[in-house]
C-alpha cells in the first residue's frame, strides 16, 4: 500500500490528519468554501483547463452522440442506395468508404465513448466521491478521443476515407491493394484512440477500488460500476492487441516491414487473430456498461430493488471471462481445424448463460415490481426484448456449420444491430431520459419521450428484423448493389423504410432534448424517487458533488427507511467535510474503509496540450513530417514533465484514527 510506504519514508506525523466530520448545509461557510475551491475558471480558460468529471462526462456524451448522428446519416445514405436493386446513387468506392466509416464511427467513436460519458459523469456521484481518481488523465482521455475522431474523419471530405471495413483485413488494407492515405489515417487514428481508451480504463479501475465513499463495500456498488469495471479491465488487456495490429500494418505500409506481406512470408491470418482477440471482448465492453444502466435504472421504475444483484454482478464478469475465448467465432470460415472450431463454438453458446441470468433478473424485477410507465422505463423494457432477439440469433451464429452459411450475410448485420443498437443505443437513450434531470436540472418532455420510443422501436424492428430474412435468402454483406433476380427486393425496401422511421425517432428525441433544455419542468434533486447516491444531491450537482462525503450503509441509500432491511442507515447530510483545498477520501479496495485524504489536482492546461501534441505527433507521422514529429514528441515530454512536477499541495494525507464515532471501523494505516 503506497500510503504505508510513505509513512516509512516520512516518520513525522505532519501528513496525518483527522478529517473533520460534520454537516455542511446549503449556505454554510464550509459549503461556500467548497464552491470556491472546486468551481472552474469562467470563460475559455476554464473551458480548456477543466478537469471536472461532470463536464468531461457531458462532453463525452455530446461528442459521442454527434458521432452517432454522423454514423446514422452514413447509414441512411447506404439504405437509400440499397432500397432498390441496381441503384447507382453511389459508386462502389463511395459505398465502401461509407460502410467503413459507419462501422468505425459507431463502434469506436460512438459506442464506447458514450458509455465512458455516462460513467465519467456518474461514477463519482454513484460512489460518493468528489472526482475520478485521476482527473487530469480523465481530461486527457477526452481530448485524445476528440482529436482521434477528427483525425479519422480528416480524409473523408477528400474522398479518401478508410475503405477496407472496420475489420480492415489484410492484404486488402495492405500497401499493395490500398495505395492511398485511407488506411494510414485509420491505422494511426486507432493507435491514437487506443491511448485514450487505455488511460480511461486505468482511471475507472483505480477510481472503483480507491474512491468509494466509506461504507460502500464492494457488494454495494451499482451494477453500472460493475459493467464499466469489467469493460475497463477488458480494454486494458485487449487494446494492446489492436494497437499492435494497426502499428504493424502502418509499418508494413510506410516503413517496408513485412508482417502481413504474403510474398515475404507474412501471414494475413495473424491480422484476423490480433483484430478479433481485441474485437470480441470489445463487443462486450460496449454492451456491459449499457446493461448496467438498465440494471440500475429499471428498478427505480419498478419500485423495488433489482432481483439478484449478486447474480447479475457475477454474470457481468462471467460474460467478460467468456468474452476472451470466443474470438475465433469471427473466423470459422478461415480453414482452422474443426476440433478447435467446435470448442470456440461451444464457448460462444455458453456465453449466453450469463446473459440469461441478466434477462431473467430484469423480467423478475418487472414482474415482482409495480412498473411506472415513464419514458426511460419504456426504453429499458423494450431493450429486454431486443436483447433476447439479438442473443438468440447469436446462439444460431455460434453453431459452427450454420455459421458457415450465416456468416458474412445480412443475418450477421441483423444480429449485430440487434445487439449493438438494442443493447447500447436503447439503454443509452433511456439513460439520457433518466439522468437528463441530473445533467441539466430539468425534466424531459414525457409526451415527446413516449413518441420517440415508439417510433424508434417500430422503426428499429422494421429496419433490422427483415435483415435476418435477407441473410437467410443469401444476401452478402458489404455489397453496394444487388440484382433484382436475387429475390432481395422487398426485404431491402422494408429495411430502408424502417431505417428512416428509426431516424425520425432519433430526431424526435433530439427535438425533445432541445425543448427540454430550455423549457423542461424543474426537476429537483430526486425526480424519479430513485435509490442511489447521485439523487441525493442537487440537480445539476455542484462542482464539488458532495458537500460532505457520505457514509454508506446499504446498496440503496435513499430507500433505506422504506426498505427497512437493517437498523443501519447511511449518513448523507453528515460526513467528512474535507474543505482544505481539493480533497476527497480514499478508501480500501474491498471494505471501503477510509485510508487517506486524497489531495486532488485542480484545473490544468496540461491534459489539453498533452492531447494536442500527441495528436499532432500522429499528424506528423501521417504526412511523414519527421522533424515536426520530433518537435511534437519533445513538446509532449515537456508537457508531461510540467504535469508531473511535484507539488506540495498534492501530498496525500493519511486518515488519523481519531475519526467520528460512527466510523469506529476506520483505522490508521
Amino acid at each position: 500500500m503506497a500510503i504505508s510506504d510513505k509513512k516509512h519514508n516520512l516518520p513525522d506525523n505532519r501528513l496525518e490528519r483527522v478529517p473533520e466530520y460534520g454537516c455542511a448545509p446549503t449556505g454554510s461557510t464550509a459549503q461556500m468554501r467548497l464552491a470556491d475551491t472546486w468551481e472552474c475558471n469562467p470563460g475559455w480558460r476554464g473551458w480548456f483547463s477543466t478537469v471536472d468529471h461532470k463536464t468531461i462526462g457531458l462532453r463525452y456524451l455530446v461528442t459521442a452522440f454527434i458521432f452517432l448522428l454522423i454514423g446514422g446519416i452514413e447509414a441512411l445514405i447506404m439504405r437509400a442506395q440499397l432500397s432498390l436493386p441496381d441503384q447507382t446513387l453511389l459508386t462502389p468506392e463511395q459505398y465502401n468508404q461509407l460502410f467503413t466509416m459507419h462501422g468505425i464511427t459507431m463502434i469506436f467513436l460512438y459506442a464506447l465513448p458514450i458509455l465512458s460519458g455516462f460513467s465519467n459523469y456518474l461514477w463519482p456521484l454513484l460512489l460518493g466521491s468528489r472526482d475520478m481518481a485521476f482527473p487530469r488523465l480523465n481530461a486527457l482521455s477526452y481530448w485524445i478521443f476528440l482529436f482521434a475522431g477528427v483525425f479519422m474523419y480528416a480524409s473523408f471530405p477528400l474522398g479518401q476515407a478508410p475503405n477496407a471495413g472496420w475489420f480492415n483485413y489484410v492484404p486488402f488494407s495492405g500497401p499493395v491493394y490500398n495505395t492511398g492515405p485511407n488506411i494510414d489515417v485509420f491505422a494511426l487514428g486507432m493507435v491514437l484512440l487506443g491511448i485514450s481508451t487505455t488511460v480511461g480504463a486505468v482511471n475507472f479501475i483505480v477510481t472503483l477500488f480507491k474512491m468509494r465513499a466509506p461504507g460502500m463495500t464492494i457488494n454495494r456498488v451499482p451494477i453500472l460500476v460493475w459493467g464499466t469495471l469489467t469493460a475497463s479491465v477488458a480494454n486494458l488487456i485487449t487494446i494492446p492487441a489492436v494497437s499492435l495490429a494497426f502499428l504493424l500494418l502502418w509499418l508494413d505500409r510506410q516503413v517496408g516491414t513485412q508482417f502481413f506481406d504474403v510474398a515475404n512470408g507474412g501471414k494475413p491470418l495473424l491480422w484476423q487473430h490480433l483484430f478479433w482477440i481485441f474485437g470480441h471482448p470489445w463487443v462486450y465492453a460496449i454492451v456491459l456498461p449499457a446493461m448496467g444502466i438498465v440494471s440500475d435504472a429499471l428498478p427505480t421504475f419498478c419500485r423495488r430493488p433489482l432481483v439478484g444483484y449478486t447474480a447479475v454482478a457475477l454474470a457481468t464478469m462471467a460474460t467478460m471471462m467468456f468474452g476472451f475465448v470466443v474470438w475465433v467465432h469471427h473466423m470459422f470460415a478461415t480453414g482452422l481445424p474443426t476440433v478447435s472450431l467446435s470448442i470456440f463454438g461451444a464457448a460462444s453458446m455458453a456465453i449466453s448463460i450469463p446473459s440469461a441470468v441478466a434477462v431473467f433478473a430484469w423480467i423478475a424485477t418487472i414482474w415482482l415490481g409495480r412498473p411506472v410507465f415513464k419514458t426511460p422505463f419504456l426504453f429499458f423494457a423494450g431493450f429486454v426484448i431486443l436483447f433476447v432477439i439479438g442473443g438468440l440469433s447469436g446462439v444460431m451464429v455460434a453453431a459452427v456449420s450454420l455459421n458457415w452459411q450465416l456468416n458474412e450475410t445480412y443475418f450477421i448485420v441483423a444480429h449485430l444491430h440487434y445487439v449493438l443498437l438494442g443493447i447500447n443505443v436503447f439503454p443509452v437513450i433511456g439513460g439520457i431520459y433518466y439522468w437528463f434531470p441530473k445533467f441539466t436540472g430539468r425534466m424531459m418532455n414525457e409526451k415527446l419521450g413516449k413518441w420517440s420510443f415508439w417510433v424508434m422501436f417500430v422503426g428499429f424492428n422494421a429496419a433490422f428484423f427483415p435483415m435476418h430474412i435477407a441473410g437467410l435468402l443469401g444476401m452478402p454483406r458489404r455489397i453496394y448493389t444487388y440484382s433484382s433476380h436475387m429475390g432481395w427486393d422487398s426485404v431491402n425496401m422494408i429495411t430502408s423504410i424502417g431505417s428512416f422511421i428509426f431516424a425520425i425517432g432519433i430526431l424526435i428525441f433530439l427535438v425533445n432534448v432541445m425543448i427540454s433544455l430550455k423549457r423542461g419542468v424543474l426537476a429537483g434533486s430526486n425526480p424519479w424517487d430513485a435509490a442511489t447516491l447521485e439523487w441525493s444531491i442537487s440537480s445539476p450537482p455542484p462542482a464539488y458533488n458532495f458537500a460532505v462525503i457520505p457514509v454508506i450503509a446499504s446498496r440503496h441509500p435513499l430507500w433505506e427507511n422504506r426498505l427497512n432491511e437493517s437498523s443501519e442507515r447511511s449518513s448523507l447530510s453528515e460526513g467528512y467535510l474535507l474543505t482544505t483545498g481539493h480533497e476527497t477520501i480514499g478508501t480500501s479496495p474491498i471494505d471501503a474503509k477510509p485510508q487517506v485524504i486524497l489531495k486532488m489536482p485542480g484545473d490544468s492546461y496540461t491534459p489539453f496540450f498533452a492531447g494536442l501534441f500527441v495528436s499532432l505527433l500522429f499528424v506528423g507521422l501521417l504526412f511523414h513530417w519527421w522533424t515536426f514529429t520530433g518537435v511534437m514528441t519533445a513538446a509532449c515530454c515537456v508537457t508531461l514533465i510540467l504535469w508531473m512536477w511535484p507539488r506540495q499541495s498534492l501530498v496525500q494525507r493519511a486518515v488519523s484514527n481519531a475519526g467520528h464515532s460512527s466510523q469506529n471501523n476506520s483505522e490508521k494505516i
Partner: protein
C-alpha cells in the same frame, strides 16, 4: 392510450407480413436461398440445424415476450406509490430461467457438434479435385491432371458430376475472398499464402449460384460464379471439350479480329493454341461454352459481350477490365473472332 401503445408492435408486424407475403414466393426462389433449399450432403444437415435453431429461437422469443408483457401489464393490488418492495425474492426466476437455458444450450452444443462432424468431411473419398483461385473480381477454375495436356482451365464456372463429392482447393491471387455455393455447402475463405479446402456435392443436376462473401474491394458485389452439376457422362463430355485447344488454324495473323485481340486483349487473356497467354484475366479458350460473362454479371450473349468490352467500367465499376474504345470496324472484327471460341 396504453392499449393503443401495446398494439403498435403487433400492427407493425401485421403490416410487414402483408407487404412481405406476396413477395415471399419470389424470395423463396432466391438463387442463394440456403435456408429453404439444399441439394447435397454438405449442406442438408446444416439446413435442418438451421430450422431447429430458428424454430427454437422463435419459440423462446415468444415465451420471453409473453413473460415480459405479462410482467408489464399484470394486475397488481393497489398500494402506496411511495412504498418500496423488499430486495429479497425473485431468485427462483433466475434459477429456473438460467437452468432451462443452460440445459437447452448444452443440448445445442452436442447437436451442433454432431452436425459439424457430418458436414466437415465427405462420406467417401472425393472423386475429383478442382482448384479455384480468387482474383479481383473473378474466379479461375482448374481441373488438374497428371498429363499437363489434359489440364483444364476455365473461369467463373465449376462443372461437377452429380452425386459425387468434389474436393475444392481454394487459393487467392490477391486479397481474401470467400467461396460460397450456399445450396451445396457453407463458405470458406480464400486466403493468400494458404490453400484452404472444402467439399461440395450436388445430388440433383442443375445450376447453383455462388458468390464471393468476403469483402474484397470495389468489385465485391459483382463476383459471382456458378456450379453446374450434370450426369457423369455429360461431365466427361464437357471435360473432353474443354481439353481441346482453340480450333487449330482458324487464327492467322491476317485475321483482323485476331490482330485486335493480340493488340488489346492478350496482355491479360489467354487462348490456348494461340500466342495469347495473358494470365491476369479469365482464360477465353472456350468462351462461348460459358453461360455468363464478367463473373456472373451478364448472360453470355454477343450483345452483352460487346457491351462488356466497350463499357466494362460502367457495368462493373472498378473492374480490372478497362473500357475499350474500338472503332466499329475493329469491334466487328473482334466479335467475329470471339464467336469462334466454342
Amino acid at each position: 392510450m396504453k392499449h393503443n401503445l401495446y398494439m403498435m408492435p403487433f400492427l407493425a408486424v401485421l403490416i410487414t407480413l402483408i407487404v412481405v407475403l406476396p413477395n415471399a414466393v419470389q424470395a423463396s426462389e432466391a438463387p442463394l436461398n440456403y435456408f429453404l433449399h439444399s441439394y447435397g450432403p454438405a449442406a442438408r444437415p446444416t439446413m435442418y440445424l438451421g430450422w431447429v435453431l430458428a424454430g427454437l429461437s422463435v419459440v423462446i422469443c415468444i415465451i420471453i415476450s409473453l413473460l415480459l408483457l405479462t410482467a408489464l401489464i399484470r394486475k397488481r393490488s393497489r398500494s402506496d406509490p411511495y412504498s418500496i418492495d423488499r430486495e429479497g425474492g425473485g431468485l427462483l426466476w433466475i434459477y429456473i430461467g438460467t437452468g432451462i437455458s443452460t440445459i437447452i444450450l448444452f443440448g445445442l452444443v452436442i447437436y451442433a457438434s454432431m452436425i459439424l462432424n457430418q458436414v466437415a468431411k465427405p462420406p467417401q473419398t472425393p472423386a475429383l479435385t478442382v482448384t479455384v483461385t480468387g482474383y479481383d473480381w473473378w474466379w479461375k477454375v482448374e481441373y488438374e491432371h497428371d498429363d499437363p495436356a489434359q489440364h483444364i482451365i476455365t473461369a467463373n464456372e465449376l462443372h461437377i458430376p452429380v452425386g459425387l463429392p468434389v474436393l475444392i482447393k481454394l487459393k487467392s491471387a490477391d486479397v481474401i475472398h470467400a467461396f460460397w455455393v450456399p445450396k451445396l455447402a457453407g463458405k470458406t475463405q480464400m486466403i493468400p499464402g494458404l490453400v484452404n479446402q472444402q467439399w461440395i456435392q450436388a445430388d440433383v443436376s442443375g445450376v447453383y449460384t455462388g458468390q464471393c462473401v468476403q469483402f474484397c474491394g470495389a468489385g465485391h458485389a459483382h463476383m459471382g460464379f456458378e456450379v453446374i452439376a450434370k450426369s457423369p457422362q455429360e461431365f466427361e463430355d464437357w471435360q473432353d471439350a474443354q481439353r481441346k485447344t482453340a480450333m487449330p488454324g482458324f487464327e492467322t495473323s491476317e485475321d483482323p479480329g485476331y490482330k485486335v485481340f493480340m493488340d488489346q486483349c492478350a496482355g491479360c487473356h489467354a487462348i490456348r493454341g494461340t500466342e495469347a497467354a495473358g494470365t491476369h484475366g479469365p482464360d477465353l479458350t472456350h468462351l462461348n461454352s460459358r453461360r455468363k460473362i464478367a463473373a456472373g454479371l451478364l448472360t453470355n450473349t454477343p450483345g452483352h459481350l460487346k457491351k462488356w468490352i466497350m463499357n466494362a467500367q460502367e457495368l462493373k465499376p472498378g473492374s480490372r477490365m478497362p473500357n475499350f474504345a474500338l472503332s466499329d470496324h475493329e469491334i466487328a472484327a473482334l466479335m467475329l473472332f470471339l464467336s469462334n471460341l466454342d
